[in-house]
């Protein structure tokens, strides 16, 4: 009986710790960083699906689909936050246009992933993930460097 009590206490503490995790970022840039961290966790979880010990292959596909839809939504959220970021004053005049272009491209790529997952086109997702990485890397290379 003692073991059951200890187990119950552990469960309650775990649930309370989860509630305490929520925090509210203030700026668009911070939100961008926070959603990026979420994306890393989602991508990591997608890589781990193959190790789910009891799930059937269809269950694993369902998990991949749900993860990809979540990822697509998060990518679109990042795009929205990016568009709110104040561009550094040292940047050239045409840069805001380019910045918006990348942000919009990111939104479209997130939308593509969401729709592919929704329609069970899971075999197309690997390419779509690579496209998102490409857009992110190009934008970071272009703007994070210039900011320095």
């Amino acid at each position: 009986m003692m073991k059951i009590k200890l187990f119950s206490i552990a469960m309650i503490l775990i649930l309370l710790s989860a509630c305490a995790k929520e925090s509210k970022p203030s700026t668009a840039s911070q939100k961008h960083n926070d959603i990026s961290s979420e994306l890393k966790v989602i991508m990591h979880e997608l890589n781990m699906v193959i190790y789910d010990r009891y799930d059937s292959e269809l269950d694993k596909d369902n998990t991949r689909r749900r993860g990809a839809m979540k990822l697509g939504t998060s990518v679109k959220d990042i795009s929205i936050q990016i568009q709110k970021i104040q561009i550094h004053k040292d940047l050239k005049k045409q840069d805001p246009v380019l910045f918006k272009k990348y942000a919009k491209e990111l939104y479209n790529r997130g939308d593509t992933i969401y729709n592919q997952a929704y329609n069970y086109e899971l075999d197309k997702l690997d390419n779509s993930y690579k496209n998102i990485q490409k857009t992110c890397k190009t934008c970071h290379k272009e703007f994070r460097k210039k900011k320095k």
Binding site: K3, I4, F7, S8, A10, M11, I14, L15, S17, A18, K21, E22, E38, V41, H44, N47, I50, Y51, D52, R53, Y54, D55, S56, E57, L58, D59, D61, R66, M69, K70, T73, N119, Y120, D123, K124, D126, N127
Partner: protein, 391 residues
């Protein structure tokens, strides 16, 4: 290695293609596919080599840990590839949405001799299809814990049942709800301490499950109702009872995972029920007991597990876990109490490494203890090693 496996399977698919006059492709990253105009058929599987060294010799199971004097060998080492798997799945568009079907097998069927060919019979794991929110066929019960520990040996309290079912599932971005009608099967302890199967089940087991997917993790609650029935059941001594009895059982299973800092997480499951029986710990505990008068008394059973998973780096991880399962038997009306399981608990720790994509190499240590109703106890220590590759 991945390409070699594909090369091995390619002639098989190509020969099928000659008959089907269809198109063979290797999809962008992973599975090998055969495409017709509408249907995509994929083939995949897993090669797995397990090696276990236990003292005394035992499986990590709530039913088989030796009690009292050592039974069998002490320190016997076993190798096995029977956990390897093979699956075929299809995907076809229809007016009701995508129809997806799966047949998945492993090789844990009839076992051959370890001295000669080590043959292992093929065994059905899953055979079902999904369309328009419905799943029909044999697959995991909706009562199973939704999140499981990242361990090599099974958790001692596992709630894992695969059985024929009809399930309706409704999904949103953050919720999943399922109502499932599943195969009933009653197990009762007779007055001689043996488990009997009355084979008088008439109503399917009914399971409601809800899963919530917040940003901080995932939690699931399953609730099950069962109708337990015996109609002139036969006891283990061959005597046929001349009456009927029935009762209603229930069970609840709460499981989940919580993301912590970095990639680490905590995983847990807790279950409780009356008449939950075979849904817990691989049928280690009976649904209830049956008296010489044919009267059914349902047993309460309970269990839980908790595990912390730490990533040393994205390819190297450790889980430390504890699991427990137990039951309250109606021991006043049962003889041979040394045959009747009371409770079991186990502690496990492992190190799992992913050297190349889709592979896993791991080592795990488990210390498990079992107790029976007569008060006797037994324990086993197991070192399990595993190498596997999913193709």
């Amino acid at each position: 290695m991945k390409h070699n496996l594909k090369n091995l399977l390619l002639p098989l698919i190509l020969s099928f293609n000659l008959f089907a006059s269809e198109q063979v492709t290797q999809s962008q990253e992973k599975s090998l596919e055969l495409k017709t105009k509408d249907t995509i058929l994929s083939v995949g599987g897993r090669i797995q080599l397990d090696s276990a060294l236990s003292s005394p010799e035992s499986a990590h199971s709530a039913k088989t840990i030796p009690i009292g004097a050592i039974v069998g060998e002490d320190g016997q080492s076993n190798f096995s590839a029977k956990n390897s798997r093979l699956w075929i799945k299809t995907k076809t568009p229809s007016e009701y949405g995508v129809v997806r079907a799966l047949i998945e097998t492993d090789f844990k069927g009839i076992q051959g001799s370890e001295a000669k060919s080590n043959g292992h019979g093929i065994r059905l794991r899953h055979a079902y299809f999904q369309v328009a929110n419905w799943s029909i066929g044999q697959t995991n019960s909706a009562f199973n814990a939704d999140t499981t520990l990242d361990i090599l040996l099974t958790a001692i309290n596992d709630t894992l049942v695969r059985q024929p079912l009809v399930r309706y599932q409704y999904e949103t971005d953050s919720l999943s709800y399922a109502l499932s009608f599943e195969q009933p099967e009653t197990t009762l302890i007779d007055p001689y301490g043996e488990i009997i199967f009355p084979k008088d089940d008439v109503v399917p087991d009914i399971v409601n499950r809800i899963i919530y997917y917040p940003k901080w993790g995932q939690v699931a609650l399953s609730v099950m109702g069962r109708y337990i029935n015996q109609d002139h059941a036969k006891l283990s001594n061959g005597v046929d009872l001349n009456n009927k009895d029935s009762s209603y059982g229930y069970g609840a299973n709460f499981s989940g995972k919580l993301h912590l800092f970095s990639l680490d997480d905590i995983r847990f499951a807790a279950h409780y029920g009356k008449g939950m029986g075979r849904y817990l710990a691989y049928d280690a505990y009976a649904t209830g007991s049956i008296s010489l008068d044919g009267e059914i008394t349902l047993h309460k059973s309970f269990g839980g597990n908790i595990g912390y998973r730490h990533f040393w780096n994205p390819n190297l991880r450790t889980t430390i876990a504890y699991s427990y399962a137990g039951t309250k038997n109606n021991s006043d009306s049962i003889d041979n109490l040394e045959k009747v399981n009371k409770d079991v608990h186990s502690s496990q720790i492992n190190l799992l490494w992913t050297p190349i994509k889709n592979s896993l190499v791991g080592i795990e240590y488990a210390l498990a203890k079992r107790k029976v109703e007569s008060g006797e106890e037994g324990e086993t220590k197991i070192i399990n090693m595993m190498i596997r590759y999913d193709f």
